[in-house]
Symmetry: C2
Subunit: 336 residues, 2 copies
């Protein structure tokens, strides 16, 4: 299975290392023999139609900061050119999410699907801004568009709701979908001011380069868009979310919540409306998790309310979700 | 799809009502047109090769306490005879669990599989005592043996671990798998004595007719056997579980746990050993749920620890898990 990898940051490197370490078991268990035929980061590219040497690739990136140095004899071309000129079965999009125009991820995904490649995206931008039309494009081109890693990192929230609850009707759901803001709010509940809690989260590397993505609820809203489309069959995009971040949560709000046996959490909710907003959640509600944990509660017609809790991010975790998507795609291809 | 239903207690009645209310949507969504051709309870049976009238069946049972009165003109025969004389695609086994000889469920399941029927069991007894050999018998007869409702009621714990985490290696897990003991321990944490808490649970109808099944950890151990076989690929049965119930947990244990920021929970654990035993769990661990809730935490190689929380029992919930199994079987049959 030939793969083009867009971006080579933490998640993509973890994925590449995962493939390296699991070559044998992926083949014996799933008949999966993945070859990365092209990869690019912000500084350059590497490609080889017979498959790049993953060990070398991972080492070069670590040493020099770019895949450009993998093979200095090849011509440097753009990501777009790689997608257009190389034959591959699957494109994996891992460049950074942005919610203005979702580029360059949006163009990568569209070009790939038009070339009949299946797509795995852990980049939330394109899905948040254009989920319904990207899904249509995938159907039109008869390719699969997968995105397990966009919500819950390695915790298979999307899969759980879609597959494990098949035959059930999900009526509503609410979740803590952004670990960074949850970490900040947890610290505030323990007495820190918003500023101190934010700085602490920054010092631990939890905050996005553009802090607005976390603090203003954009990241949580993007995940809500994906969940609403995929699980509830809605056709919505980012502007449909009513959104309020945590910047205005102060020590008084936290104390009031505590008096009510509750804690303030940034909750993404799909009920009558789609909202992201700080909400008081009872301490003994399974949803009320602390630190960087993510949690989501689905309320279904016959099975009551079920909650899944897990780490919402992390390179290895998200890489393992890409692998799950890849195994799925392989399975579907073999079927037809 | 022709179904024989063994037992017609709370779960089976909920299932029958679920089928009644979802006839149209099951056909349009899943191509599923279930017909119950035979059913029996402890007092008698009802059968009709063209499918029983579910509305009438549910009404008669409610009014008279047995399905025997569905059609007084038919000859009353034993459950065994129904299984042997009727053609059906699926047998659903819902009689009460027992961990001595697992009868009559064990005979129902074995007879059905020998007759090439697929089996859905929510009866834990046969699986706890003979999981490996029942699975072999199913393979030998090329039928499916499903049991989603045995662990977690309507919370699809088995499915989550097996499917949503595909491509992942689960290293260990631990769970609160018995809602009754969790309810008792929760009450004790709030100050009740063991006896008062037990009586309160009894008055709410939470305790099994044979209270040892809950209090001595048999129910939790049976679920652990099922999880260990299905998810970890172990070949174990009830005697392999090291088991200790909650009868000896006293107010001091509860208070000591509280001092450590913990609570005493009856934990079923699969790590180096398979154990069911009262254990101190940190209050802020997602696993530490209260009341009748069930919870299980899976620790996997790449995705960290993930916890699922939900109601572990209930007629409607368990009925919805039978329906999921039925949809699965229908899907698999159509494939081949």
């Amino acid at each position: 299975m030939r793969i083009i990898l867009c971006g080579f940051g933490v998640v993509a490197q973890s994925f590449s290392e995962l493939l390296e370490s699991r070559t044998h078991d992926l083949y014996s268990k799933f008949g999966l023999r993945p070859r990365i035929v092209g990869v690019f980061d912000s500084k350059g590219c590497a490609y080889d139609e017979t498959g790049l040497d993953l060990k070398k690739l991972n080492k070069i990136k670590k040493q020099s900061g770019t895949v450009r140095n993998y093979d200095k004899s090849i011509k440097q071309i753009s990501g777009k050119e790689i997608i257009e000129n190389f034959d591959a079965d699957v494109l994996i999009e891992t460049t950074a999410s942005n919610y203005k125009d979702a580029e360059p991820g949006m163009s990568h995904i569209i070009s790939a699907m038009k070339k009949k490649m299946h797509v795995i995206s852990v980049n939330k931008g394109p899905l948040a801004l254009a989920f319904p039309s990207l899904m249509e494009l995938a159907n039109y081109n008869q390719v699969m568009l997968r995105f397990s890693g966009t919500v819950g990192g390695g915790t298979p929230i999307l899969d759980y709701a879609k597959n494990s609850l098949r035959g059930e009707k999900i009526l509503s759901f609410q979740g803590i979908l952004n670990g960074t803001t949850n970490y900040i709010l947890t610290n505030m509940a323990e007495g820190m001011s918003f500023e101190d809690a934010l700085n602490d989260a920054k010092s631990k590397g939890y905050v996005e380069a553009d802090e607005a993505l976390d603090l203003d609820g954009l990241d949580a809203a993007a995940k809500l868009v994906i969940l609403a489309n995929w699980i509830m069959g809605m056709k919505v995009t980012m502007p449909d979310i009513i959104k309020k971040g945590i910047r205005k949560v102060n020590t008084n709000d936290i104390k009031n919540a505590e008096k009510n046996g509750s804690a303030v959490k940034l909750i993404a909710s799909c009920d009558k409306e789609l909202t992201v907003s700080p909400v008081e959640i009872k301490i003994n509600d399974p949803l009320c998790v602390n630190g960087t944990l993510n949690a989501i509660s689905f309320t279904s017609e016959h099975s009551g309310t079920q909650t899944i809790i897990g780490r919402g991010a992390g390179g290895t975790e998200t890489a393992s979700s890409i692998l799950r998507d890849l195994i799925d795609i392989r399975k579907e291809i073999t079927k037809s």
